[in-house]
């Protein structure tokens, strides 16, 4: 009997360890980013690092200002949200409330395919279709620009926005809608004036999730944004926080390499803020 108990405790211990692996991973990632990211910030000076507008890591007198990357990431994400959210939101209303069952299956299939397409494939199509398109349409010397990145990101965040919004819209109690219909509102009016406000926390969560996806995307953006460390201009070649890390990592050393880790730390802080916002909205949406 005692042997049995010892064995059960042993198994319990193993499962506890397996459970704690997740926590360990988060700690490991945080720890490594902080340890690797702090030295360069201290050497460069936090103000010069965050607010400096010139990034010239390989110059004779190197300058490490990442404001262009931060602004590009913020503008790029904002642009993607401006385009992606209305389209995603209206699609989700259609799918959750208006669509007949058969059409719904087809469109949902399309949305999950959109979610599954690898980001390098988006990047490739962007390179071959969007970049020449922008060059021809707006008569700019090079189409690899912030605009191309915004369009690619807007498409890439669509599935997240659609799926989370649909879940939120479907969770609205049917009584709310019935009451509105009984008062004489038409179905479409009911969906927009009753269901959508009732699902607003969930829809907010969808938008925040989209922000997180857009700010974290690296490969697709790297292939279409031109990758020069300029301050953001719609038709200019730009570099995001993610692509700044990726593009110089393979050949960097010394302070330059440390500065790349610091950029990753800044990106990580952004993501943690976004995660906190996401949790806030998800929790509130559950309480509703």
């Amino acid at each position: 009997m005692r042997k049995q108990k010892a064995f059960e405790d042993f198994v319990h211990g193993i499962f506890l360890i397996l459970g704690l692996v997740t926590v360990g991973c988060v700690l490991l990632i945080t720890l490594y980013l902080v340890i690797a990211g702090i030295p360069a910030i201290r050497k460069i000076g936090i103000l010069d690092f965050l607010c400096g507008t010139k990034w010239a890591s390989t110059a004779k007198e190197p300058s490490y200002g990442i404001l262009p990357f931060i602004l590009t990431s913020v503008y790029g994400t904002a642009g993607a949200i401006l385009i992606g959210v209305p389209i995603g939101f209206l699609t989700s209303v259609y799918l959750a409330k208006l669509a007949p069952a058969k059409i719904r299956t087809v469109v949902s299939g399309a949305v999950s395919l959109l979610a599954g397409i690898p980001s390098v494939v988006y990047g490739l199509i962007g390179m071959m279709v969007l970049v020449p398109g922008i060059r021809g349409l707006f008569r700019v010397p090079d189409g690899a620009s912030l605009l191309a990145a915004i369009i690619v990101l807007a498409i890439m965040i669509l599935p997240s926005i659609i799926n989370v919004s649909i879940t939120a819209l479907e969770a609205v109690p049917k009584e709310y809608e019935d009451a509105s219909l009984a008062l004489g509102a038409t179905p479409v009016e009911t969906y927009f004036k009753v269901s959508v406000p009732a699902a607003k926390s969930g829809i907010a969560a969808a938008v925040v999730l989209g922000v997180g996806r857009a700010i974290g995307e690296a490969m697709a953006v790297m292939m279409v944004s031109g990758n020069a460390p300029n301050l953001p201009k719609l038709f200019g070649s730009v570099r995001f926080l993610t692509t700044a890390v990726a593009s110089e990592m393979s050949y960097s050393g010394g302070l330059q390499r440390q500065a790349l880790f610091s950029i990753a730390l800044v990106l990580f802080l952004f993501i943690m803020l976004i995660n906190a916002a996401l949790n806030f909205f998800l929790k509130r949406s559950k309480e509703e």
């Binding site: 193993i14 459970g19 490594y32 995660n275």
Partner: protein
């Protein structure tokens, strides 16, 4: 009762409905365009020679067999590690955990992990696996990085399906005198097999599409290796080699061929996920 709905109101309703429909049509046709464009551009470039050889500097020809094999190795190695970890964590959360704080910590950690962008995984994977644990740039280091990435997915799908195992099954087994581990092994784990399979399919999809996390952990070599030797050496998966061929070498024909293959695989994974979901739902009703 005539004219109950005014003309203005009617127009407004019509416009809203049309906007919703248009956006749905846009999303659908966009997906269709991406699919058709990639297949049309890519399939003519797929040849048996491309699929069955490795790149050769002598003849200047490109083959993607090593990349295909690397992708398979990567999927196998990642699943081998992530399944026990993810399923174990889920079992702990639903069967053992009593301390609410521990549960909250694990769930919060899983949520955080699923929000971290892959480029950060790549960086930490490079620092920890490649440098600190001295694995160098290798498929194994890449696979371990992907294990951390996919952990929340496997954990969540297993957890969902554990919740559907009826409490009475467990009580019945306990009542017959089984110990906790025996109950888990014979009743709980077989009951959550559908969640494990779903988690596997989703993970395969993510591994297929992943590139940023692998660039600095698994590298971009195209050597033809067996499984064990392959794990120890650097190698590009299909997505990474697509990136290298398109961005660094300008080999767009090969890039589109790989893109078409990835597209077909993505379609297959989605189809499998949908089929599995339907099948498991039917089984639950029985």
């Amino acid at each position: 009762m005539n004219g109950q709905i005014g003309i203005r109101r009617k127009i407004k309703i019509g416009l809203l409905r049309a906007a919703c429909g248009l956006c749905a049509v846009f999303t659908c046709s966009l997906t269709l365009f991406l699919l058709v464009y990639v297949l049309v551009k890519g399939i003519p470039n797929i040849s048996w020679e491309l699929l069955s050889t490795k790149p050769s500097y002598l003849s200047g020809k490109i083959g993607i067999l090593p990349d295909i094999l690397n992708t398979v190795y990567m999927i196998a190695a990642t699943l081998v590690f992530v399944l026990p970890l993810g399923v174990g964590a889920a079992v702990y959360l639903t069967e053992y955990a009593k301390n609410k704080r521990v549960v909250a910590a694990i769930e919060y950690a899983a949520e955080t992990l699923s929000g971290i962008p892959s480029i950060i995984y790549g960086l930490v994977g490079m620092l920890f696996f490649c440098q600190f644990l001295n694995m160098q740039t290798s498929l194994l280091a890449g696979a371990l990085t992907l294990v951390i990435m996919n952990l929340p997915t496997v954990m969540r799908t297993t957890q969902e399906s554990l919740k559907t195992v009826p409490q009475s099954y467990r009580e019945g087994a306990f009542g017959l005198g089984a110990g906790k581990w025996r109950v888990i092994r014979t009743v709980v784990l077989p009951g959550c097999i559908d969640g494990i399979v779903t988690g596997c399919i989703l993970s395969v999809g993510r591994i297929l599409g992943e590139s940023a996390a692998l660039l600095f952990t698994a590298g971009f070599a195209h050597a033809l290796n067996g499984f064990l030797k392959g794990l120890g050496s650097a190698g590009a998966t299909l997505t990474v080699s697509l990136y290298v061929y398109a961005k660094e070498q300008g080999e767009f024909g090969v890039a589109f061929a790989i893109a078409a293959i990835l597209m077909i695989l993505t379609l297959l994974v989605n189809l499998l996920a949908a089929l599995a979901g339907r099948w498991f739902k039917r089984r639950q009703k029985l």
